[in-house]
Amino acid sequence: MTPLRRSVTVVLAAAAAFLALRAGPAEALPAYARQTGLPCATCHTAFPELTPYGRRFKIGGYTARGGDWQGPPLAALYMAGFTHTNAPQDAPPAPGLHTNDNLVSQQISGFIAGQLYGNVGSFIQITGDPVAGTAGVDSSDVRYADTLKLLGQSTIWGIDVNNSPTVEDPWNTTPAWSWPQISSTIAPAFGPPSTRIENGYATTVGGVGPYLFWNDMLYAALIAYKGFSVPELQAMNVGNSTTDAVTNVAPYWRIALEPHWGQHYLMVGSFGMYGQIAPGRQYGIGTDNFLDIGFDSQYQYDGEQYSLTVKLTDIIERQRLNASFFLQNSSNITNWLNSFKANASFVWDHTYSVGLGYFNVSGSRDCFLYGSGANLACSPVNFGSFNNSLASSPNGSGLIEDLAYIPFSYGAPFPYSKWNVRLGLQFTEYLRLYGGGNNFDGSNLGRTHNAAGNNSVFAYAWIAF
């Protein structure tokens, strides 16, 4: 960490701490609970997954106000976790750590979250990564929301400004808030590649656009994104002169229909984005063009005693890799990648949560993009983060189980009434990685070079206050 970055981090942390102290301990965080006067359980089945009311609070611009809190909308979170993998990693995942069995503070975040003024509300997040020793602007959105009558029906409409596609979305089926919302930051050593909309735009683009929620049922949004400049990336500490650049005005669209029958909520929807990328900010060689189209569905039973949420998401990505092909980072000009997720969470009394999930990534084979050096028939010219496959394949799949205890969803003990903790145990099992099981990269190194070697147990504590 440079002295400047360190001083920025210290000043921001000090400012947040000072303002939090100014707010006084008599009132509670998180900020949304203080603002609304409602307990965590109203908006979350098991935080951070949203209930129907939680979705409507978000769509309404984070401005609903029922509490008597008149102070600034500040909140914070802290995450710590212990990670054990089935096999030790080749090298410690970060300086000062071991090749296995690491206990780390993995995230500290400060928020400006809630009604800013009138109909303007925010979810602004600044995150520190203690493992990497960095801090920067995290996924955030600011929105204006109001109501009107459209075709004779009540409608919420708004304008959203954000820096991460899908962070503004109210369902937990889209990438930014997809399940599980917490995972180890130091494992796995090898994971499957992601589609661009899942892991390629967050915090490096800025977007603005309108949305509406008609008749408490039909949601639609259209957002135009531009890539941040290098000075902007550096100012927010989220990138530098080699960060991939979005060169077009990248459109993002979203439509979802959520009818409900009593306490049964069904959602079917679609979302997508088209981005033209200059990889590593190398210009004059064409762009890599990514068209992501997602289809998602959710069923949620929002009972008083328990809830059940079942979610399906499938993202189809078409890639035209003009620049990467020129740079010999890909063997094909056109590729496809598909990401499928299915998961279900059962939550008893907003306190005990059991979640099960399956993920599957599949796509076209590409020697230079995915092929490992052990495949002599492929011999990739450059080695990037995905060059792990003897079969030159991105294919991977696995299972996730998450058990969580959330004791304070209805109110916490002294000194605050509105803070909460999520204590969890998460198991991840890789069925295959990069088109193989054992020795998927042909290195014969064993350990995490077998898919099952990356299986992990992650015990975590997530404190929001």
Binding site: G37, R56, G60, A64, I112, G118, N119
Partner: protein
């Protein structure tokens, strides 16, 4: 190169000052009471009390017939999922 670094430092400083300034302004702002409300069906509103709880004894109730969080006409003897006990 030196100029680029200076520009970056200046922009960082500008962003930092702006961020701290914005947070300070937020800290001194008095919040308004505006905010969007949700439909009654989304919070399972019913015209009758439930388990001894009614809107007239809810912290969110705004006499005589409305609610801070729920849209429409609200009966003091009604109930919904957002019920929070009114403190004295």
């Amino acid at each position: 190169m030196q100029d680029d670094r200076e520009t970056t430092k200046l922009r960082r400083r500008t962003v930092l000052i702006s961020a701290v300034g914005s947070i300070s302004l937020i800290g001194t702002t008095r919040w308004t009471q505006a905010g969007t409300k949700v439909p009654q069906s989304a919070v399972y509103y019913q015209a009758a009390p439930k388990d001894g709880q009614d809107c007239g004894h809810c912290a969110q109730f705004a006499a005589p017939h409305s609610c801070k969080l729920v849209d429409g006409d609200i009966s003091p003897s009604g109930w919904c999922r957002l019920w929070v006990k009114k403190t004295a």
